[in-house]
Amino acid sequence: MEIAPVLRALTHRKIGVVLIVAQIALSVAILANSVSIVQQRQGLMRRPSGLDEANTFSLTNQFTGSSSDLSARIRTDLAALRAIPGVIDATAVQSFPLRGYGAATTVTLRPDAKSPFNAAEYSLTLNGLHTWDMKLIAGRNFHADEVKDFWLGISNGAPPTAIITRALAQRLFPHGGALGQNVYLGTSAPTQIIGIVERAQTPWAAGSAWGTFGPEESLLVPFQWVSPILAYVVRTEPGRNDAVLALAPKRLFAVSRARVISDAQTFADTRAEQYRSDRALGLVLTVVCGLLLAVTAFGVIALTSYWVSQRRRQIGLRRAVGARRLDIVQYFQVENLLISGFGAALGVALGFAGNAWLVSAFEMVRMSVAYVIAAAAALLVLSQVAVLWPALRAAALPPVAAIRWQ
């Protein structure tokens, strides 16, 4: 198959060529960027929180009435929750991974260093690691004498010890050896790192509220959170999560009616709620991408059909002087490959330019080369498949009829 005559023929239909090139180029650029965004979002959404997610639920509890004996009321509640058959452990906390709000703290290596908030902070007791099913990769859990009540608004001083996540350890001590070191949580009193857990995602799904620390840079401090509003996080035996979730409010009300319980939900629901808008974004982009491919395919079919109808006489002539059907089909395929190949190449450039702009103007993540290549390849294949139908119709023209019709 010679390319030169195909190219020469194309110079006679510049507008059509420009239209297909523009369409393919735009499609490659949009597809690559959309898929990159969707993939990146999905990566974020799939990030494990660190908890035993399938077997964990939480509820928000607000005590009403006198708040003088809160510490005792919390302990009674926890005992009642742990007594429910199927419960492995329960803990009362201010926040937990993916809750949407929580506390952040300053962590520095020197007492006088000032810093913006740079880690999420969870108050956890002895049962914390067990309830959250977090794996210690180094060091130890808190000791009973380290855990103190943390009354909101009452200074407790810096905690003597803390457990940090691997991500935070790597940031603070890039050369290792975090265990046993002292850090400072905004005060001059040191806090010793006694343990490192594999993972504990921050309360914020999309990174940190301040944008200054990573999604897994969390710190656990040995406090029992004591406040009228707190969350009970409960871990159950496999398969018992829903049943215990239904029973838990009843058991708590049996302990005392002086409370308001809200947001009783499985961890799966917490996760779904946190990522709701991300899912919607992904869905919209996926639908748009699907429509984009369909529209582009139809565009190629329509324009090629138009060309076929314009070139009936030439096709008939070629057939009459000995071209096989295959030659005609091949002609249109080569022609399409040239046009869409040019469009795809332009699309790759456009896609990168667009992405660079998105990165600088909207702080999006840089797109990997693979997405652009894949998008270009996808549109080339789609375009080739789309051209088949009009090409086959052209090949089906009987030579005589093709000449006579015009």
Binding site: A22, Q62, L152, W210, S262, T296, F362
Partner: protein, 440 residues
């Protein structure tokens, strides 16, 4: 003549059905996708208080100093976006604006006369809040200045909560039990939920709003904790008094500044205040202040996530692809009818006549595409409804009740189709009657 062209256009729709419906589909799908995403964007980025967005201001001062400042994007400084209690009340005392309010989010237990208590989001604010933010009263009014100085237990209820508590009687003057204390209802609002929730963006700005409002001073008197975001530059001194004296930010502050002179004066006031704090030994750095009106504030706080902006750009790109597609399809459609135009030209139609005829046809196709786009927009928003959350109602309002948005959709479709039809139309007018008729 236009009537005749319209008739012709409608008749030709039935010829070449496949090609015509492809054009309509391309325009409709492009417009539908774009409008779906644009509607969400409009719902999120709309001016929540158009009458006053230019005169309501958030002041910011450098309460924490340069060392604790998170690295902002280049060229901008990120000052704390909330206030310490002492600064907020200091501003209130200074009374440097016509109207002003310090405020913070609270959560209160409501104990109804019968049934279990339930928690309700609320706001502790000064009485100017209602006038500043145009919160409309259905009955009663705000509490008095005296209520504020007396730390009176008074409350303004939302329409929904008033109806829930007192379905059969007027709520004003009634007593409501909040956190176990009796509060007197001074007013009930009409349904009011500005979106985004611009006056406090420390939580989710697209949630349902507060159900009750109490005086700021009363909330502080009862030691009500903040239910919103909170940050501390240093560990505060012990106890409630420590929280009030400490360097934790958990209150918001707004000032109403009616003109440029007032804004200038207020900026000077902020600088003076910061300098004063430096003299007192609290700030160890030169004054740095910022004043933002409502829309500047929403931009500064990134209330519309970048993802939504990127989405609307991608959707616009998709619309462009659809329109490029439509150009090609229309080119094919008009070319197929070169013979018809040649006959009309031979019978005396001028080029402008052909142009007008083709344009009318294009407009008809555009209207049909627009109608299809409108349907797809409604479908897209319905599909997205669950994920839009509190925005869903807002998006509904925009699409279902707003003729302006509907007209915009169809106008956009017709305009875009006409633009993409220009070249094919021009080509159609260039048909050489003699050559074309001979070729037949």
């Amino acid at each position: 003549m236009m009537g005749y062209y319209l008739q012709l256009a409608l008749r030709t729709l039935r010829r070449n059905v496949v090609l015509t419906s492809l054009i309509i589909a391309a325009v409709g799908v492009g417009i539908g996708a774009y409008m779906t995403i644009l509607t969400v964007f409009i719902a999120m980025s709309g001016d929540p208080i158009p009458d006053k967005s230019a005169v309501l201001f958030v002041p910011q001062i450098d309460a924490w100093g340069p060392a604790t400042r998170p690295p902002g994007t280049a060229g901008s400084v990120r000052l704390p976006d909330q206030f310490t209690y002492r600064d907020a009340t200091g501003f209130m005392r200074a009374h440097a604006a016509r109207r002003q309010t310090a405020m913070y989010a609270v959560q209160l237990d409501v104990t109804p006369p019968v049934g279990a208590p339930y928690a309700q989001p609320g706001r502790a604010a000064y009485r100017d809040f209602f006038a500043m933010f145009e919160a409309p009263f259905a009955a009663g009014g705000p509490w008095s200045v005296k209520d504020e100085t007396d730390l009176a237990d008074v409350v303004v209820l939302s329409a929904a909560l008033a109806n829930r508590l007192f379905p059969h009687t007027g709520a004003v003057g009634q007593i409501v039990s909040l956190n176990g204390r009796p509060y007197r209802v001074t007013g009930v609002l009409k349904p009011w939920n500005p979106m985004p929730h611009f006056y406090d963006v420390s939580g989710n700005p697209f949630t349902l709003g507060e159900q009750l409002f109490i005086p700021f001073t009363t909330a502080i008197g009862h030691e009500l904790q903040s239910a919103g975001g909170q940050g501390c530059a240093s560990v505060p001194p012990p106890g409630w008094s420590g929280k009030l004296a400490g360097e934790c930010i958990w209150t918001q502050f707004w000032a109403e500044l009616p003109d440029a002179a007032a804004v200038r004066n207020y900026r000077q006031f902020l600088l003076n205040y910061s300098a004063e704090q430096r003299r007192l030994g609290r700030f160890h750095w030169p004054p740095l202040v910022q004043l933002s009106n409502v829309n500047e504030w929403l931009a500064l706080e990134h209330v519309v996530p970048n993802e939504v902006r990127v989405n609307s750009l991608l959707a616009f790109g998709f619309l462009a692809v659809c329109l490029v597609n439509a150009v090609g399809l229309m080119l094919a459609r008009f070319s197929a009818r070169a013979g018809e135009f040649a006959i009309r030209r031979a019978l005396g139609a001028s080029r402008p006549d052909i142009f007008l005829q083709c344009l009318t046809e294009t407009a008809v196709v555009g209207v049909l595409g627009g109608v299809l786009g409108l349907g797809l927009t409604a479908l897209g928003l319905a599909a997205n409804r669950a994920s839009l959350g509190a925005l869903a109602d807002y998006a509904d309002r925009l699409t279902h009740l707003d003729p302006a948005v509907m007209a915009l959709t169809v106008a956009l479709a017709v305009g875009a189709t006409l633009c993409s039809g220009l070249y094919p139309t021009w080509r159609a007018t260039r048909v050489q009657p003699a050559w074309q008729l001979k070729a037949q």
